[in-house]
Symmetry: C2
Subunit: 307 residues, 2 copies
């Protein structure tokens, strides 16, 4: 089944305790596409780039079954640029630069060729833009998932709360879930978010894994314990891409299948952090992915007889 | 199979965001005994108490199959007392008072009736005391597990490193594992600890679960996502008690069985935090425990076909 992903395609400069890189391709939609295209084709991309975005990156995405009809190219501007520095714990970072560039004009349109898509992944963008995309869809997708961040909670909370009424799933990290709801307990926060609109909530906890909530059900997916997290940039988007890629591949949005999708997303994210930016995501094949999923099975499997 | 547990039996005063209690029974050996006695009898307790420790608490423990021959009663002194206040995140706390009282004279002896025990749980105590207990054992137990804390790393690191050579398993939290090794990555920290002596390492991560390491194998046990953690006091000791209680019950120290034991320990700890001190541990029965273990199975189980 087809998948639309909306988000940024950008350049990042990244500094971690392990090294630094002054310019590498990034952006939420880039990571979602690299992850999801392992599972579903086409991935129908909606984004905006400047005249500086590398042609070879666009070719690489096209080769992986990513459609770019919805990617607007602004000839006289630069692509979105972000630079940041990670702290030693890799769970927190300082943003050093945010150059919106083309992103300031982003007014995404859903191309006719994308209409009818059954899965829609709304990357972290202004809530108004996310809502516009939903309203551009002639037929409501089977599942709409969205990401957001603290910036919008501080600057556009009322718009954010409106978008939440239109989506099926919110994917946020623990700090964002707490900020959105004012509740410290993640179980209570998830319940509060489900009252805002989404039927499903995923709360990402970085190295501590992720929680999936639906009604009174909860699933805890671990993260793979790694010797080193080389670069966490894009891990959350890669998780989302693997997650929704698996759902779109199978067309099954049961809770049981969402569990599988979270494991797939976690596996993809565990590759992402091994090298700078999306480098590792371009190297892996289906066998690598299967081996990694098997590692997740081994990591949490136990067999206990209740007496 | 029999189990010896060495540690404190004490009074605590506890303040959490949910309430406060000025005096309740606590101590590492108390929690270990309440947890382990659900799975193995006898639990052979080694501790020291003053003239103020309640007779009804000793009777309650005896009724649960806890032997107290190794519990020294000092007639003219008070029991160890600790008071602390938890922060909102419940993962950190301030110690307000530590009155050693009888603990200052603790020189534990292993009673003849305890000799031959196959499992030994050394609670958090001065490394020298832990070593003395090991050396008092006429026959080496099948498995010796120990807890420790940052205080001993700061004040008695060389003694601590000696004890580590004599034990099979270290059970610590994430901050302690990092402090002991100077390594931030928990995978690297666990490997480093395994080079200090222990064959097995458990790293507890509070609300994020626990990791079990042996050689290159790793198991990730989640913690149950709870609406509220009412009082975390004793949760770590309760985890250790459930863990070693299951091992002692089964006599099986394979990695597969240790996974089960971690789930049992996690289930017991999830009860402990529901009420002040050990109150909840005294209320539950085998059916409650089985239901909770089933919740852990449901929480992490997924079934994924690799294609």
């Amino acid at each position: 089944m087809s998948l639309i992903t909306v988000g940024t395609m950008a350049f990042d400069a990244i500094e971690t305790p392990f090294g630094k890189i002054s310019k590498i391709v990034g952006g939420s939609a880039t990571y979602v596409a690299y992850a999801a295209s392992n599972f579903v084709k086409p991935v129908q991309q909606i984004s905006i780039i400047g005249n500086d975005f590398p042609q070879e990156e666009l070719d690489e995405l096209r080769n992986r079954g990513v459609h770019l009809d919805g990617v607007e190219i602004v000839p006289d501007k630069k692509s979105f640029f972000w630079s940041g520095r990670y702290h030693e714990d890799m769970n927190s970072r300082d943003t050093l630069t945010t150059d919106l560039n083309v992103l300031a004009d982003f007014d995404p349109k859903v191309p006719d060729s994308y209409q009818g898509a059954e899965f829609l992944m709304l990357g972290n963008l202004a809530p108004k833009i996310q809502l516009n995309v939903i309203q551009e869809m002639k037929k409501r997708p089977k599942l709409i998932a969205m990401d957001t961040m603290n910036f919008w909670m501080e600057s556009a909370m009322s718009e954010l709360k409106i978008v939440l009424k239109y989506v099926d799933m919110l994917i946020v990290n623990d700090a964002e879930a707490r900020q959105l709801t004012g509740l410290f307990s993640l179980v209570k926060a998830a319940k509060s978010i489900m009252q805002m609109g989404p039927k499903y909530v995923i709360i990402k906890k970085g190295e501590h894994g992720a929680l999936l909530f639906q009604d009174d059900e909860v699933f805890y997916a671990p993260a793979l314990p790694l010797e080193d997290v080389f670069d966490p940039t894009g891990a959350g988007d890669t998780f989302a891409g693997g997650f929704i890629g698996h759902l779109a591949k199978t067309g099954d949005i049961s809770f049981e299948n969402m569990k599988r999708a979270i494991i797939v997303g976690s596996a993809m994210a565990s590759f992402c952090v091994e090298k700078f930016g999306p480098i590792r995501l371009k190297e892996i094949n289906q066998e690598d992915i299967n081996n990694r999923i098997q590692q997740f099975k081994d990591l949490v499997s136990f067999d206990i007889e209740l007496v």
